[in-house]
């Protein structure tokens, strides 16, 4: 997926970009079918749905008001049931009966016995049956069905049993059953009160039972914001996608089908200009349709076709509104790019339609994060594009503004949008478009070339696997988790990758001997670096405040677990030292070595390593360790020093935990000494370096060094 350098330059408002944008819009406006399908139909459709549902609701209400439901009472205790129901009829004024259920009008129908009643129910002459069994009958029945009852032994058998028989697939029957159940409960309560009264407790229950009242501290605006915030982003995304998808289908897949793509690609417009013009068209259409839809909804609210909840209000400050608009920018780019990318992958309309549905679901599912009550922005959700915007918008509508996490949301969404734009650019790489062959050299030959391309995706799969498994309750046990993640996933996974892509183990895992001086350097370096990075964090805390939890995360020790030391050492130090190094400083580093400059390689592998430690505040300390280990591997050209370093790092944390030493608050001299040792260690590593082979730009640097001397 190489992009020729001059093709990526972009001048906004350049002549080709403008021409293409205006041309595309003009063509779109001339396409009557698209306009009807993407603008007019949704305009009619949405109000229609609302109207139908409110119509159905009204009808239901009406039916409940006017319909008289028929019930039959059968069984030996039928008289008790009739008594109970009559009692309710007498105390109609009871405030608890003012629900919809209570408004249902019930009338008893004749039925000789259960089978007669059931027949009437089947013929829909009766809506519900109450079968009243005496205590003896109930016991007899339960003994007959002992086994069926086995799961629920505490049901008392000395009482009569009233059974409500209805047909759940007939909603009249369902309504009647609900109503009769509510009345029987009420009847039972009234009977109990009366019995208490008769037994010498003449206390009206209303005086003993305190009145429960709810007072909501949230303002109407906050409640409204919460209600709206739950689905605002989903709805907006839905509009953006439905509006944008029709243009998107037309724009690359359609051009391929009509044969105009090759004409376009032989013009002087750059690929970047083409992609950006097309993105701009999709975003324009998506936004225009969203605005029309929102206005449309507001009109229908105004016409009272759509009813708002009572006391609905919104209080959005200008700052929150600004944030919402700002977050919409990456979101709409992301949606547009996802659609354009889908279009770019497809060769025909049909192919676009086939792949559209999964993309649609993938885009829409994350927005449901705002419905989940437990999720707030100050969590790992901030790292999930789309979901983070959905949650952020909900919080903004409620009036919460956490600018740090909002900014993070913006950055993450923008990065995701940009990555999608880049993918879209690569789909315009023309080989695939104009020739029949889908393969390029790397795919054709497989092996290491292909591994370099797939390595990040594989680590994505590792991450997802780890995430899913960590949610299995059986895996909460630490030993099992270490065994699965570290040994199975990272260790075995890396070996399988090497086997699958026919990689040479010595190269992919850097199984080379380092310079002998490296060993003592590592022995000193590992603990010294822990302390000096602690010191760096503490110092930087003076300049700009570091969140408390982040500070703690850096100083975190492995809590003493009920386990012999040697076992803990094996699990926490040796296993990660070997297996995590095989995966991260082995397979990952090797696979990415030609893609990034060495300094980028260190940062990228460190970031990925950090992300594998799920807890948000653990990411930074882990990434720091990852960066140090990557530097060690690149300098020594071998994985063994990093393995030892990792092992010592973890062992040091265990030891400090066991001894109860708080490395956050040691004598400043200790930190100073650690700093000196760290510098010394990296000095030794630099002087004795055997640089990791085959890095990006290695040949160039060598040539420069030679010409410099």
């Amino acid at each position: 997926m190489t992009q020729r350098s001059s093709e990526t330059k972009l001048r906004f408002g350049s002549q080709p970009l403008r021409t293409l944008y205006l041309g595309e819009l003009r063509m779109l406006l001339r396409d009557r079918r698209t306009i009807i399908a993407s603008v007019i139909l949704p305009l009619l459709f949405l109000p229609l749905v609302f109207w139908l549902s409110s119509f159905a609701e009204k009808k239901r209400e009406e039916r409940i008001e006017t319909q008289t439901f028929q019930y039959a009472v059968v069984g030996s205790e039928a008289a008790t049931v009739r008594n109970l129901l009559a009692r309710i009829g007498a105390s109609d004024s009871d405030e608890e009966l003012s629900t919809t259920r209570a408004r249902v009008q019930l009338e008893e129908a004749e039925a000789s016995d259960l089978s007669d009643a059931e027949e009437k129910l089947a013929n829909r002459d009766v809506h519900v049956i109450v079968e009243a069994l005496s205590a003896e009958e109930a016991r007899a029945e339960s003994e007959a069905g002992e086994e069926a009852r086995a799961g629920n032994p505490e049901v008392p058998l000395e009482l009569p049993l009233f059974r409500i028989v209805f047909e759940g697939d007939w909603d009249y029957s369902q309504t009647a059953a609900d109503a009769i159940r509510a009345r029987l409960y009420d009847g039972r309560r009234l009977t109990r009160e009366q019995l208490l009264d008769e037994a010498g407790f003449p206390i009206p229950p209303k005086e003993v039972v305190p009145v429960v009242e709810a007072r909501d501290l949230a303002t109407a605006g906050q409640r409204g914001g919460r209600a709206l915030g739950r689905f605002a982003v989903s709805a907006l995304l839905l509009f953006l996608i439905t509006g944008g998808s029709i243009v998107a289908a037309d724009t690359i897949a359609g051009e391929k089908e009509r044969g105009t793509l090759e004409t376009l690609l032989t013009t002087a417009a750059t690929r970047t200009e083409i992609v950006f013009a097309k993105l701009a068209v999709i975003i324009t259409v998506g936004l225009v349709i969203s605005v029309i839809q929102v206005l449309n909804l507001m009109i229908y609210v105004g016409l009272e076709l759509i009813e708002l909840p009572e006391n609905f209000a919104l209080q959005v400050s200008p700052v929150s509104a600004g944030w919402i608009l700002l977050l919409m920018v990456p979101l709409s780019v992301l949606v547009a790019a996802a659609l354009l990318w889908t279009s770019g992958r497809a060769k025909t309309y049909k192919e676009f339609q086939v792949s559209f549905f999964p993309v649609f679901v993938l885009l829409l599912v994350p927005t449901t994060a705002s419905i989940l009550p437990a999720i707030d922005l100050r969590s790992a959700i901030v790292l999930v594009p789309i979901a983070n915007v959905a949650v952020a918008v909900r919080e903004l509508l409620v009036g919460e503004t956490d600018w740090l996490f909002l900014a993070l949301t913006f950055v993450v969404s923008s990065a995701a949008a940009w990555q999608l734009v880049r993918w879209t650019l690569s789909t315009l790489q023309t080989e695939r478009l104009v020739t029949g062959t889908e393969l390029d050299e790397a795919v054709f030959e497989g092996g290491p070339g292909l591994f370099q391309r797939h390595v990040i995706a594989w680590f994505g799969i590792f991450w997802v696997t780890m995430f899913l498994v960590s949610n299995v309750s059986w895996m909460q046990d630490m030993q099992r988790q270490v065994l699965f993640n570290v040994v199975f996933l990272f260790g075995l996974g890396s070996l399988l990758l090497a086997w699958r892509y026919k990689l040479v183990p010595k190269e992919v895992f850097a199984l080379r001997a380092p310079h002998p001086w490296v060993w003592p350097a590592v022995l000193l370096g590992a603990p010294a670096t822990v302390l000096s990075s602690m010191a760096v964090v503490k110092l930087s805390n003076y300049i700009f405040p570091v969140p408390e939890r982040l500070l703690e995360a850096f100083g975190q020790q492995i809590a003493p677990v009920e386990m012999p030391s040697w076992q803990l050492f094996l699990l926490i130090a040796v296993a990660p030292g070997i297996c995590e190094e095989l995966a991260f400083r082995g397979a990952l580093l090797h696979g990415l070595r030609k893609r990034y400059e060495p300094w980028q390689l260190v940062l990228v592998t460190a970031a990925i390593f950090g992300l594998f430690h799920m807890s948000l505040f653990r990411i930074l300390p882990t990434a720091t360790l990852g960066a140090v280990l990557a530097v060690v591997t690149l300098l020594t050209g071998s994985i063994y020093p990093a393995m030892l370093w990792h092992l010592l790092n973890n062992a040091f944390a265990i030891a400090m935990g066991r001894e109860g030493v708080d490395i956050m608050s040691l004598d400043p001299m200790v930190y100073a000494a650690a700093g000196v040792v760290t510098v010394l260690v990296f000095g030794i590593l630099w002087r004795t370096r055997r640089v990791y082979p085959d890095l990006k730009g290695a040949a160039l640097r060598e040539a420069k060094a030679r010409s410099g001397t």
């Binding site: 001059s6 021409t19 393969l439 054709f444």
Partner: protein, 290 residues
């Protein structure tokens, strides 16, 4: 005789003389495709040629000879696997955008946008090719007049007849007034009258000083039009020269026979090479067996 030695002497002399001013220069151009079924396919197997300013240069070859792949690399739709092409001094690898700006590319697979009118089409392609914005109107007016589009200039392209479409298509290729024009099998799918009109257009353009690169598998077209011809076969250029030079070299008169002469040689050489390799492999196999 090996394949390499068949290339005509005219090529070498011309490159040495003033190669800087050549409008099109192709060196060591290769394109390899990878296909699950066919494996590695060398569509273009290392070719060199150049065009002189103001000539019609013809690439003559059978279907699958590598003509279209070559021209697609020239127009930067495909990236060369090896070698490079310089168009007006710009490399297709380094400056594809500048290359495309000095090119007009016409082929059977460059369709027009159906929902634009003829005039809008020309304005669109002038703009997208960075033709100075203040002169677009004038340029489009000239093209409309020249190609007799006036009567249907405001009709949508999807309503036009194939002859009208062809006129708009050629005008589209010229919208930004490029010095070099590439016509990849332009007459494929045209009826006799339209094909003749197109051939006339190409000749007119040459007379105006444009450099034209033209590919075809039709001998009579090449015979009538081309100032110089390259015969391409199996991804290799077998010879390059004027029609007269080719006649002298082969002793044949008609291009058809000249073409067969070279292709036969090439086929024979290819067969020899194949047999040689087969022999080698067999020997190796026998050697391994011991």
């Amino acid at each position: 005789m090996t394949l390499e030695s068949t290339s005509s002497p005219t090529y070498d002399t011309a490159t040495r003389a003033g190669s800087a001013d050549l409008p099109v220069r192709v060196e060591g151009l290769r394109k390899t495709f990878y296909d699950e079924g066919r494996g590695e396919v060398h569509a273009v197997g290392g070719i060199d040629f150049h065009c002189n300013r103001g000539e019609i240069f013809g690439l003559l070859g059978a279907n699958g000879a590598g003509k279209t792949t070559t021209l697609r690399m020239l127009s930067t739709i495909l990236e060369p696997s090896e070698g490079d092409v310089w168009v007006e001094g710009n490399s297709v690898r380094e400056a594809p955008e500048a290359v495309r700006r000095s090119l007009g590319f016409f082929s059977a697979s460059t369709a027009l946008y159906p929902r634009l009118t003829a005039r809008e089409t020309l304005e669109f392609f002038a703009g997208i090719n960075r033709y100075p914005a203040d002169r677009v109107k004038q340029r489009v007016g000239e093209l409309i007049e020249r190609f007799g589009i006036t009567a249907f200039q405001d009709a949508r392209v999807d309503k036009l007849s194939s002859g009208m479409k062809q006129k708009v298509s050629i005008a589209r290729t010229l919208a930004h007034d490029p010095p070099i024009l590439i016509f990849d099998e332009p007459t494929v799918g045209l009826d006799v009258l339209n094909a003749l009109a197109l051939v006339d257009n190409i000749r007119e353009l040459r007379d105006e000083g444009k450099t034209l690169l033209f590919s075809t598998h039709i001998m009579s077209e090449a015979e009538k039009l081309c100032d110089r011809i390259a015969i391409i076969h199996g991804g290799k250029i077998l010879t390059t020269g004027t029609l007269d030079e080719l006649r002298q070299e082969t002793g044949e008169h008609y291009l058809e026979e000249i073409f067969v002469h070279y292709v036969k040689d090439a086929e024979a050489a290819t067969r020899e090479l194949l047999e040689e390799r087969e022999q080698r492999e067999l020997e190796q196999f026998a050697g391994d067996g011991k």
